[in-house]
């Protein structure tokens, strides 16, 4: 039992914006009051619900490949030396599993959503997720380039496609569905990409990216998944891609959808030389369409490693940079590319990207629909979130940072005109309450009665980055995890998953197709429930 006394509480889910209030926790959950509890004197401190990351890459084949590919980062990365309370590990671009848990928790984040898991590497992903301590986890399964699903959509077999998707979610022990560059990664296997939403995809006669996106969104809605379709739009990173992004959002009218890392999809111009921000246009559309949510995918200057299922984009990035390139083919399901990357303020394209991430966060009116992410590790590593918070909370600091941008940036970005400054309450929304709501995690991102006892307590400071980077206490499930920078405990987090129902015949439909083209046996394909550490099954609102 724990009582947090006298802190200034920011709990936007319950309309609390900076009131002095006690928070009590019993058996891991927030309660009205407790007697004879351990007390934390939070007088003069700031109390937030634990952070929620709606889109990150922390486990599975791709990030593991990135770890292996970047030994140059390991020798300069933060080292975690094994002790009584923690395992050894390394921070850096692609932190090791245990370090990932320590770093997230150390910053006050207590829930993370791994955003891209092929069914085929779901087992690997869950094995790694169970080695990410402290935080609760969920993952999304990749569907928009799965050839069995695509074949069904091509043949107009919508109901069967829905069954198959539901079966895959069960098999992968996933929490939701992710679509990456719909059809583009399948086309990549023919040496092509899918740049036009309404053109047929290489290898198919009539199936288009638009079909895949709208039908997957419908499937996710009809299966009643708590999190809407999580969509990485086509043409990521390309100048002029705002057109594709707007078309995609139009396709989704009347459906729920989460547009991932919108920063990478908000560019105008015709080529790298004329690239500019189109965040105003995108934010205008987005503001008037409450069916959508998004996350920033913000960029910070510095070294990182980019990893995505978007294989063709990564090949292009490799050609542009001449850096290392790793390419994975995930049989009939998706692809994956890895390229280390350095965002430089002197580089015009990078400068535009940096500005666009912040612009979207500032131009989208409703903080409940735009969330703090960097698409870790693509735009920057997650442990740099406090730097973004500082940029959002201080227009002066943004102006100061803009001085290091090249002169040619003038007229290409909107950021110099934006004076909005985030309040602490709004930061609590974009980093916790909002993403929890988008994920349908009703017990997260809130300090309401009955919610999980995940609480962060900050020492109030004018140095915002320092304050958010080094919480005074982090409490997970009612247990004090971080006390003044020290890891006091590293309990195992839970894994959230959903089990949408499907026609029992689906498995017999899939088996021959699977055995025909995969390299493993069908029996070994689905992830067994006993491999999931502390599973927590969430209900679907199935109405079909």
């Amino acid at each position: 039992m724990l009582r947090i006394k006298g802190g200034r509480v920011y709990d936007p889910a319950n309309g609390i914006d900076g009131q002095i209030k006690d928070i009590c926790i019993r058996d891991g959950r927030i309660v009205e009051s407790v007697e004879s509890a351990t007390e934390i004197d939070a007088t003069g401190m700031i109390v937030f619900p634990g952070g929620v990351d709606v889109h990150t890459h922390v486990a599975g084949g791709a990030i593991n490949f990135a770890r292996a590919m970047t030994p140059e980062d390991h020798r300069r990365a933060q080292a975690f030396v094994r002790s009584q309370s923690r395992r050894s590990g390394l921070g850096g671009f692609a932190p090791t599993t245990f370090a990932t848990g320590y770093l997230y928790a150390g910053m006050g984040w207590t829930t993370v959503n791994e955003a891209a898991v092929p069914v085929l590497s779901a087992r690997h992903t869950h094995e790694e997720l169970s080695d990410v301590p402290i935080v609760d986890k969920s993952c999304l399964v990749l569907m928009a380039n799965n050839e069995i699903v695509l074949d069904l959509l091509e043949e107009g077999e919508y109901e069967q496609a829905k069954n198959v998707v539901a079966w895959y979610i069960n098999a992968a022990k996933a929490y939701g569905v992710k679509a990456v560059n719909a059809g583009g990664v399948a086309a990549w296997k023919w040496g092509h990409d899918a740049k036009q939403l309404s053109s047929s995809i290489a290898g198919y006669h009539k199936l288009t990216p638009a079909d895949i996106i709208s039908q997957l969104a419908r499937i996710v809605d009809e299966l009643g998944l708590p999190h809407p379709l999580h969509l990485h739009c086509n043409n990521l990173g390309a100048p002029g891609n705002v057109k594709t992004t707007l078309e995609t959002m139009q396709l989704l009218e009347g459906r729920r959808a989460h547009i991932a890392h919108m920063q990478y999809h908000a560019y105008g111009g015709d080529d790298w030389h004329s690239m500019r921000s189109e965040s105003v246009q995108l934010a205008d559309y987005f503001n008037s369409h409450p069916n959508l949510t998004t996350d920033a995918g913000a960029v910070l200057f510095g070294d990182t490693v980019t990893i995505t299922a978007d294989g063709p984009w990564q090949y292009l990035l490799y050609k542009l940079t001449g850096r290392k390139w790793g390419n994975l083919d995930v049989e009939n399901e998706t692809g994956c590319g890895i390229v280390p990357y350095t965002y430089k303020p002197s580089n015009l394209v990078n400068a535009v990207q940096w500005a666009v991430g912040l612009e979207l966060l500032l131009l989208i009116d409703d903080p409940w629909r735009v969330y703090l992410t960097t698409d870790h590790p693509n735009g920057a590593c997650f442990w740099r979130y406090p730097e973004i918070i500082r940029l959002l909370m201080s227009a002066d600091f943004r102006q100061e940072c803009m001085r290091s941008l090249p002169a040619r940036i003038k007229g290409r970005i909107e950021l110099p005109e934006l004076n909005r400054e985030y309040s602490l309450g709004e930061i609590a929304i974009i980093s916790s309450a909002g993403p929890a709501r988008a994920l349908g995690l009703t017990n997260k991102g809130s300090l309401g009665i009955g919610c999980d006892g995940d609480v962060v307590i900050y020492n109030r400071s004018d140095d915002v980055a320092q304050m958010f980077g080094h919480p005074r206490y982090v409490i997970k499930g009612g247990e004090i995890i971080i006390d003044d920078g020290e890891i006091r405990g590293a309990p195992q987090g839970r894994e959230f998953l959903v089990q949408p129902s499907f026609d029992p015949q689906t498995e017999e439909y899939l088996r021959p197709r699977f055995e025909d083209c995969y390299t493993m046996s069908f029996e070994n394909y689905p992830v067994e429930m006993h491999r999931i550490e502390q599973p927590e099954i969430h209900q679907c609102r199935q109405n079909a």
Partner: protein, 273 residues
Amino acid sequence: MIHLRLKRLPSVPLEAEVLTPDVLRDLGHREICGLTVYHGKRQLRLDEFFEIEGEKSEHLHLEGDMHKLRWVGRSMTSGSIRITGNIGMHLGSQMRGGVIEVDGDAGDWLGAEMRSGTIRVHGSAGGQVGAAYRGSPTGMRNGFIHVGGQAGMEVGMRMRRGTIVVGGSVRDFAGLQMKGGTIVLLGGGEIRSGAWMTRGTIISLEPLQLMPTFRSAGILDSPFLAVLARFLAVYGIELPSCASLGHYLRYTGDAAAGGQGELLLWHVSASAS
């Protein structure tokens, strides 16, 4: 001068990155004796392995068979290290200034990723001299490395600037993926010299087996060689540059990687031989 004489042969590699002028410069004798070295995974005192004389100096003299001693002179910025005997891997790694001289052989990764300074090894060196560490995009960025004897594989791998001179022959992949700087092979090299190089110069006084991605570009006619020869003469290294003795055949490549690097092969004039 601080004098360190090895008194006990390490049974496993001994990691001694404390042995740099930067660390020892301001330390008294007692503090030096108590510095930590890693004998495998065990942390031991420096004086378990060395007899130590002198204090507070930026000039070090190491003596003994130290082929298992690693990381000496790591990131040093000034001063000197003189080594009498063989020395192990990573000598002068990431060094930024000062002088290292070895009367003996050195191990792999000699001067890896160094930024400035001078390293002279009178014996032979291992592989990856002045190279980039695995995964790192850039090797040696400046400075001078002279190996009197032979050297191993991947000499100057991904180097960007600076000069490496090897007196004896080198093994495969000299100048692998190099981006700039100069490698002088007085004794020639084995196969695939200059593979994947994008810029920079490899000079060989002995014939090299050229990769098919190098193109003949005639005879070098540039004052560069004379300037380089004068620079090397300071170190007692003789580089023929007199037209009456012969000329340098120039090859450009690696065409598989942009092809702006060059290989210069010394060709003795018929009249001179």
